[in-house]
């Protein structure tokens, strides 16, 4: 009996302990209306014992384990104030009344991930990558691993130059994108997208992989809905006197019209040429007559021109795009750029002259002035089935160069001028019908250099060279391509004809010569392409062969002689593109092409390239073959911000003409002799970059190595020579804390040349560092230094330190800055280089210490 009672007590106790309790009730508002969707939970010491939601009738029911302690019933709703009611853990009815909530939920936007990869599009969230001192888009883009921007503003990704630059999907500027990268504030940009395997033509998107990579800048909402831009004024003083700059840009994106208007005028640094350069179709007109202008422009050292050049630059640019419909766009690109620059340097030139070396020492003061107006109009229809692009371009170059020279205390003045104009119209039509594509392309270009002059006076001599050239080129291409499952067959037929007129006169000492030629140069090529793609589209192989012929007919207008040549062409091309994994890509290409000269090969008149150098063609057409093979490998882990790129290229060039140089005391003669010669080249390059987001650190290391072998006739003797170069470069930038930012970059390079058992090499190394301090958020104090060590000759090294320091203060939309340039007041920079068997040593005069104050206002 006792056992039964104990068992009963035990059962009752355990039942009591495991018993469920029910807390239920209704939730109403202050007017007695039932509230649905109230989240009701029973909490005890931060733990949720049970929960539920009220139904339409406002009722709830919580069923939980019974217990001795107290708990809290929490009533929570999106539009009513939270209510907490303490309770014991026993069954009860609990009706509550909630009051309307006055506050809403906090709105939140999480910072976007730094990098996203979707298919072939890699997006970088720029605000997470840009450093505080990055003002322009170009400054911030340099922080992105895998992207490189050179000193002129040219952008490349994983070693490949970008093929298109878009702003919010619109190609406004074409190749003039430096205007945007240096004119758009980094704060206006949300994302930088890299579009690999890019097809700018919509109907080509299924025609296979391309090697093209494009960039698209995505602006933030503010930049899209209202005009943006900046204006700037600078004033200062330096060793050359007053320095100043004034400029501004106004940009409007969004809607159907995009416009970029910018202009600048200043003499503190060069900017006109780099900011108006078109990287996709050059503004520089290279007419054949430009050779008659000689080389009066002087040489440039591997140093920021800001240190040695005294410029005066100005430009105005207007670029506009109008979207007529989803597929149709009109575009205008126009600019006028004026650039003037002068500097001073001296040289020591050692020319190999057989048993001895002829040495010349000279002092130069070159100056160059150029006017480059350009206008382009585009009409583009780009739909899924059709493409039509009508493009007109007109560009002119008016360039005047002067060089005051001192040679052994004897003065000499050289000057040259080039007047050139180019008009070009091209029509590109494409159509997709089912699996077939049809192409028609017509280009007409007129390039005229009616006046090209070179003159010099000094050393008891005078010389005058005058020349002209006109060229009319017509190119016609028709093609059809058919796509099957894995194959594409493309059958293009291309015909090009050039009509040339060139002429020159030379009056120098006892040389008086005159030449005038007229020529027709044509080529007809049939270039079938067979493309195969693997089923997974990871492997693509292209086989192409150029079949046809080239013909040339040149008439000497003075003698009446006619030279005619017809040459067959059979040039194979092979390329393989393999996306081995989502992270790795290989590209292999091999080609062999026949290289043929032009009308200039028949100009037998001597041409002066400088007061001491004359070149004369033997009147033989250059004919050769260039073969090359290259292999590139890209690897990336974009989410982890690792990027690696490498490529190796081997080439061989064979030609029927060997370069020949004869060096005399006062004159250097250059010509070509009819002897076959071949030259080889091998280059390797690689770079690895990584970004550590936690400390905003970017690391990059690169290597470039190359060797070449060539042969030249010097002083009547055939000499083989070899050149080699090796260069390491590195970069590290970091912003580990809010108040400091550091960067360090440098390179070490060795360039060598060997011939006839002699070997010489020069070593150069540069170390550059920037330290930025932010004592308060709006204030930046920075110091930038360059240390350069160059080998001039044998055991002679020269060290040089350059530096600049500055203060920047940002207040609202205005930035005030004070800059001291060339803090150490270094006045000269020296280095040496090889050209063939000759050695040249340079010493440049640098601008002294300068101080500049500027105000920039951003819209």
């Amino acid at each position: 009996m006792r056992k039964v009672v104990s068992l009963l007590i035990l059962l009752l106790a355990s039942y009591a302990l495991s018993a469920q309790i029910v807390i239920q009730g209704s939730v109403r508002d202050e007017e007695g209306v039932a509230i649905a969707g109230v989240v009701v939970s029973l909490q005890q010491e931060g733990k949720t014992l049970g929960y539920g939601t009220t139904g339409k009738d406002g009722r709830y029911r919580l069923s939980v384990q019974a217990g001795k302690d107290t708990a809290t019933v929490i009533f929570n709703h999106l539009t009513f104030e939270k209510l907490e009611v303490p309770t014991t853990l026993e069954s009860r009815n609990l009706d509550v009344i909630l009051r309307e909530r006055s506050e809403t939920l906090k709105e939140v936007t999480v910072t976007a991930p730094v990098v996203k990869l979707r298919g072939d599009t890699l997006s970088f969230w720029l605000p997470a990558l840009a450093a505080r001192e990055d003002y322009t888009l170009e400054d911030a883009m340099k922080r992105i691993p895998g992207i490189e921007v050179d000193e002129n503003g040219r952008i490349s990704y994983q070693g490949r130059a970008i093929s298109h630059f878009y702003i919010d999907g619109v190609d406004i500027l074409g190749g003039k994108y430096t205007l945007a990268t240096r004119g758009i504030s980094a704060k206006m940009v949300d994302q930088v997208e890299i579009l690999d395997n890019h097809h700018s033509v919509k109907m080509e998107r299924n025609s296979g992989r391309t090697n093209e990579v494009a960039m698209n800048i995505k602006l933030n909402k503010e930049a899209r809905i209202k005009p943006t831009g900046s204006s700037e004024a600078r004033a200062g003083w330096g060793s050359e006197g007053f320095l100043g700059r004034i400029g501004g840009s106004l940009m409007r994106f969004g809607g159907k019209n995009q416009t970029i208007l910018s202009g600048k005028l200043g003499n503190d640094a060069q900017f006109a040429q780099s900011e108006t350069s078109d990287y996709f179709s050059s503004n520089q007109i290279s007419g054949k007559a430009s050779t008659f202008a000689g080389s009066v422009s002087g040489s440039s050292p591997p140093l920021d021109a800001r240190y040695y050049l005294r410029p005066m630059d100005a430009y105005v640019s207007l670029d506009a795009s109008h979207k007529q419909s989803d597929d149709v766009r009109l575009k205008l690109n126009s600019h006028y750029a004026y650039s003037y620059g002068t500097y001073d340097y001296s040289t020591r030139s050692d020319y190999y002259a057989g048993d001895n070396v002829v040495t010349l020492q000279e002092v130069f003061n070159p100056s160059s002035k150029s006017h480059v107006p350009s206008i382009g109009l585009d009409y583009q229809l780009n739909s899924e089935e059709r493409y039509l692009n009508e493009r007109f371009r007109a560009t002119a170059n008016f360039i005047t160069n002067a060089m005051a020279t001192m040679r052994a205390d004897d003065p000499l003045d050289q000057s040259s001028s080039i007047r050139a104009i180019r008009l070009q119209n091209s029509l590109d039509w494409r159509k997709l019908i089912g699996d077939r594509r049809f192409y028609f392309n017509n280009t007409i270009a007129w390039t005229s250099s009616p006046s090209v002059k070179y003159s010099f006076a000094g050393l008891g001599l005078t010389g005058l060279q005058d020349g002209f050239s006109h060229n009319l080129r017509v190119n016609q291409r028709i093609s059809t391509a058919h796509d099957w499952r894995r194959l594409t067959l493309d059958l293009p037929l291309n015909a090009t004809i050039d009509y040339d007129r060139i002429g020159n006169t030379l009056d120098f000492g006892d040389i008086t010569a005159q030449g005038s030629l007229a020529g027709l140069n044509g080529a007809v090529l049939f270039s079938p392409l067979l493309r195969w793609r693997s089923p997974s589209k990871q492997l693509q192989i292209d086989l192409r062969v150029d079949l046809g012929g080239k013909g040339l007919s040149v008439r000497d207008r003075f003698t009446g002689n006619v030279d005619k040549h017809i040459l067959p062409v059979l040039d194979p091309n092979f390329s393989l593109d393999w996306t081995a994994t989502a992270r790795s890509q290989f590209r292999l290409s091999a080609s062999s092409s026949r290289t043929v000269g032009d009308i200039m090969d028949f100009l037998r008149t001597p041409v002066m390239s400088s007061y001491r150098s004359i070149r004369q063609s033997p009147g033989i057409l250059r004919d050769g073959r260039n073969s090359r093979i290259s292999l590139a490998y890209d690897w990336k882990r974009p989410i982890e911000l690792w990027f690696f790129h490498s490529d190796v290229m081997a080439s061989r060039n064979k030609t029927n003409l060997r370069s020949s140089q004869t060096v005399e005391t006062d004159q250097i003669w250059n010509t070509s002799i009819p002897e076959p010669v071949s030259s080889d080249g091998l280059t390797f390059s690689g770079s690895l970059s990584k970004r550590f987001q936690q400390t905003s650190t970017k690391l990059m290391v690169g290597i470039r190595a190359g060797s070449n072998r060539n042969s030249i006739t010097q002083q009547g003797r055939a000499i083989d020579y070899k050149g080699d170069n090796l260069r390491f470069n590195w970069e590290a930038s970091s912003a580990p804390w809010k108040w400091i930012s550091l960067s360090y970059r440098g390179y070490w390079s060795r360039t060598g040349s060997s011939y006839l058992g002699n070997r010489t090499a020069f070593v150069t190394q540069t170390h550059s560092g920037t330290l930025s301090l932010f004592p308060v958020t709006a204030l930046r104090v920075y110091f930038d230094t360059d240390f350069i060590r160059t080998q001039i000759t044998g055991d002679l090294f020269k060290n040089m330190a350059l530096g600049k320091a500055g203060i920047e203060w940002n207040k609202d939309k205005i930035r005030y800055s004070l800059l001291v340039h060339n803090v150490f007041d270094t006045r000269s920079y020296a280095y040496s280089i090889f050209t063939g068997l000759d050695t040249f040593s340079y010493n440049y005069a640098l601008r002294g210490r300068e101080i500049l104050f500027s105000i920039t206002y951003t819209l």
Partner: protein, 325 residues
Amino acid sequence: MVRKLLVTAFFALSLSASFTVYAQNPVGASAKPIQREKAKVAGYDRIGDALYEVIYEYRVRTTVSGKMSTRSEGSTITVRSGQPEIPEGQDNTVSDTYSTILQFGTERARFLDYLAYKVDSLACAGAPEDTIAKAYNDIDRSAFYFDPVIFQNWPEGSMTVDDVLVPGTFTYSENMTHEWTFGDDQKEVCGYPCQEAKTSYGGREWTVWFAPSIPSNVGPWKLGGLPGLILEAQDAEGIHHFTATALRKAACPIVRVQDAGRDKTQRDRFIQRKKASGGNSLNNIPTESITSIAVFKNDNGGTIKVNGRVTVRMTNHTWIPLELE
């Protein structure tokens, strides 16, 4: 209360005005790019009010597969399997990212792709017809698009799912019951302190993070039933991951596109059929069910619109289902 009535009346008027110019999925469209015509419009059914919206980034960790996407030749749809899947040991992992959005109010919620939401919100705002047509074209051309539309707590206590199985659209209901186990871990997601919870659903083990300070029992996709809004969810294998990236006030109500061709079905049958078809590819499609094909190209491949109603995304990334059972 008065303010609510005015807001409701405003939206009702806006919707009634804009739905007359809103078109969706006209049946039997030609192979040309879709033109939105006034005569072929579809309406909306109003499901409920939305107070807030949460944008979720949905990432799927998958692989580059050897299976080729399909191609049509005339009236024949042929599926070609290319080389087998890339052998193990090779690094072919990719991450596909989708933008999705959850609208929720005091009673109901809707989860769908952001591009689809954009079309609805343009219609809601009375945007011009060509703007809405362009938004539709963005859907047709998008390489990454989350097909299902999930209505949570509609009807009450249940979920309604509208989904696509080429060449048709389907709908089914299921109960909103998940058995949750609370964890001890806490972390901040989207600026809100969150608590951990776990459940099993659809053959996967899910770990979620919910915010008790946001009193809503809904979440991304089909996940819900917690005493707070779910802001992050991930399956145990790390394949499917939903993360809230923004929370903001709602811009338009919860609506459902009217679709007369939408077939009613059962959840289990639909899941099994979708798994068998390998996602939304054209595998095993009876060719006689195809009346039209329109092809759109994009930088990531292309899309095919079948019968003017459903879109197949061409990709060589392996489709990995959210639900295994």
